[in-house]
Symmetry: C2
Subunit: 424 residues, 2 copies
């Protein structure tokens, strides 16, 4: 697979190289390139210091394609265009069309702010000045995206804000220089396997026992909140090997496999409800609404999902979910009995066909020897039956809550699949 | 500030360079370095291809400190140690202490899995083999973290899993070679300003009008879900300039300033409730539990937060929150009247002193000309009064929901501050 064209991604931003927040542009471009059959060889994140940016760009130019994000703004700190030109040995010129276009936007903006246009003039001239031979991809705000063709390597310059970057990336793909690089790419195939409940080492063993990767198939195994994601990247011609490997991995782990696509579990749950004509609700304690939040993140979830009761305080578990006082007293709020009563309550109160509950101790405080931090009880019930589960989940408060929410979604998925399969 | 020691961070992982998920180790190490007075000059993300990793390491060795994460596992793909040794021109040697220690862990593991130890032996030898002169930082799983001292540059090798990386990073800071680099660092000061409701350009203007950065103060302005975060990094000796700049930025924007620290709004809301002896609840529609989820992400929130009703379906708004049918009919579920009735209902049902509600159209479907996608109504009420707000929020479904949740938290913060100030 090393004959794929190689790409370097150079991401600029002081706040990114200083760790204020994770960069999302690099992963977006990398995933796009991989799909297209171009190998994302490196993501370099640099600030606005000239020396660092110059060095990263010089390295980027050694790849077949170099995608640069950020540093296109109107201020003196935004030096990407100037430094790309210098790295390519290209001169800079004022593009008259861009000058008119950016000038008009800035004039309107100045008027709206009640500030004189002269305040913006230097920025307009700067943003309308581009390297000789550069193609404009259109504007993001007042900054043009650019494509530069240097024969053996092509440079794409994109703005930093992710929605703008993504929009102009689409335009870049249409240009002749990028198309030329793409014509040498052979898009790989993909196989995706998603497991829940299997350990990472069990999946790694299944992969090894099935022959491991190689021979045109590259495998990555990635653990996320108790799900194990296996992704195969398949070179052209290696489809049969990929299919054999896929089935070899699945065979010993079939009961844990929940998807052969990237579809997240909340979408699967919604589809299973929709197929059965069932409405859904959640009753949550330690997850604080996270299960409902994940379900409602899916567009169109309102045809299935009725709502949730987040019963954080015990009196709310009693008052809003009808959990009997003697259950809370005898078994405690974190117990299988309370989890069951929460589901009974939320189904009745909200009139939902199917419901799932979570109650647990997310920590860091509140644990005891008998009921340690991480202990979580879950229950799901619907017309076809019920399922329960309990775990002591490892990790910090955030991890425990995430894992509990994911586990709740999988519990209700299994319940719905079991009901569907029983009915079939 | 260019006399700070420079650091390069090299992150290895095929899944990271291919964009499967954002890297979190680079930002963690970068933020740590910045605090310590070391300039994080670059974060390079590479896969496990030898040529790419060798090149990234060679560049990293030109910095005063090079921190490498990942690639320490037992398999042939995990080549960080071997390639670091080669880049440094160091030989490799089997460390007998490590051999014994890793062997014991692997023996126990093999026993638990019911597999022969011989399956693990090659991995044990590999992980116990380290460059000449390397200091072990202790094990993460079966992999040692390492520090290598080359005089003008120091290399720290850490495991990929973030909790392990963070733990061994603490150990690396205690070693003599890293201490020597730190002795040349002069930790900067920091100023943090957090605004809500001001535009990014208004904050940029305030910064410029106050004299802009420079003279030992570097400023970054970052917009996140309607909050504007201003961070100043202050060189030793520039404190007075930083204080003047800070107050210059705050002066025209005082009413939008909500924090001079990194404390998130949900923590401020909980503290305000606690100070007033008030309990809190939420009633959510389009945010689907996200406001409750953010509040309960804070450890100890259970002394204030009672719970939430996520009323996604209209019948739940009526049944569980007592929103009158004629309000839903006349004004619709997305209306100021419904938002108000949701707060009235949740305060009464859950017995909460203070509550906030959100109802809106998160899209992509469901918008009309009169009520477009992004339209959100919010209401907050407590013993001290009430506040309402409505917006048409830009962005996609996820962005609209995030912004609506953040706006809800700020609405209830303002209500609580107003009540507190009126009582004072």
């Amino acid at each position: 697979m090393t004959d794929r064209p190689r790409a370097f991604i150079v991401v600029t931003g002081s706040e990114l190289v200083r760790g204020d927040r994770p960069d999302l542009n690099g992963p977006f471009i990398a995933a796009e390139l991989l799909q297209l059959g171009i190998e994302p060889a490196r993501i370099s994140i640099v600030g606005d210091a000239e020396a660092e940016l110059v060095e990263a760009l010089a390295e980027g130019l050694r790849a077949d394609l170099c995608v640069v994000s950020g540093g296109l703004g109107p201020t003196h700190d935004d030096r990407t265009v100037e430094l790309v030109a210098r790295a390519l040995g290209a001169g800079l010129r004022l593009d008259e069309d861009l000058h008119v276009e950016i000038g008009a936007i800035s004039r309107a903006f100045a008027e709206r702010l009640g500030r004189p246009y002269v305040d913006f003039e230097a920025g307009v001239l700067k943003q309308a000045t581009i390297p000789d031979g550069a193609l404009s991809l259109g504007l993001a705000g007042t900054a043009p995206g650019l494509v530069l063709d240097r024969g053996e390597s092509v440079v794409v310059v994109l703005p930093g804000p992710p929605p703008e970057l993504q929009r102009l990336w689409r335009s870049a793909l249409e240009t002749a220089p990028v198309q030329r690089v793409l014509s040498r790419a052979r898009p790989p195939g993909f196989r995706k396997l998603r497991f829940f409940g299997a350990s990472e080492s069990a999946v790694a063993k299944a992969l090894a026992d099935a022959g491991g990767d190689g021979d045109g198939v590259e495998a990555t195994i990635c653990a996320r909140d108790f799900e194990i994601h296996v992704d195969l990247v398949v070179a052209p011609g290696a489809d049969q090997r990929a299919d054999e490997l896929t089935e070899g991995i699945v065979a010993p782990l079939e009961r844990y496999l929940f998807s052969r696509s990237e579809q997240p579990v909340e979408e699967i749950v919604l589809e299973l409800c929709r197929a059965g004509g069932l409405t859904l609700a959640t009753a949550e304690s330690c997850t604080g609404g996270m299960v409902a939040e994940r379900i409602t993140s899916v567009p169109g979830s309102s045809d299935v999902f009725l709502g949730a009761v987040v019963a954080y305080a015990d009196e709310v578990k009693g008052r809003e979910l009808g959990v009997p006082a003697d259950i809370l007293e005898r078994h405690g709020a974190v117990s299988a009995e309370t989890a069951t009563a929460m589901v009974v309550g939320v189904r009745e109160r909200l009139g939902a066909d199917v419901a799932v509950s979570v109650t647990g101790i997310a920590g860091p405080g509140g644990g005891t020897e008998a009921k340690p931090v991480g202990l979580v009880y879950l229950h799901a019930a619907g017309p076809g039956g019920a399922r329960s589960a309990d775990f002591v989940l490892p990790g910090d408060r955030g991890t425990i809550r995430h894992r509990a929410a994911v586990t709740a979604l999988h519990l209700v998925r299994r319940l719905l699949q079991q009901s569907r399969d029983a009915a079939a």
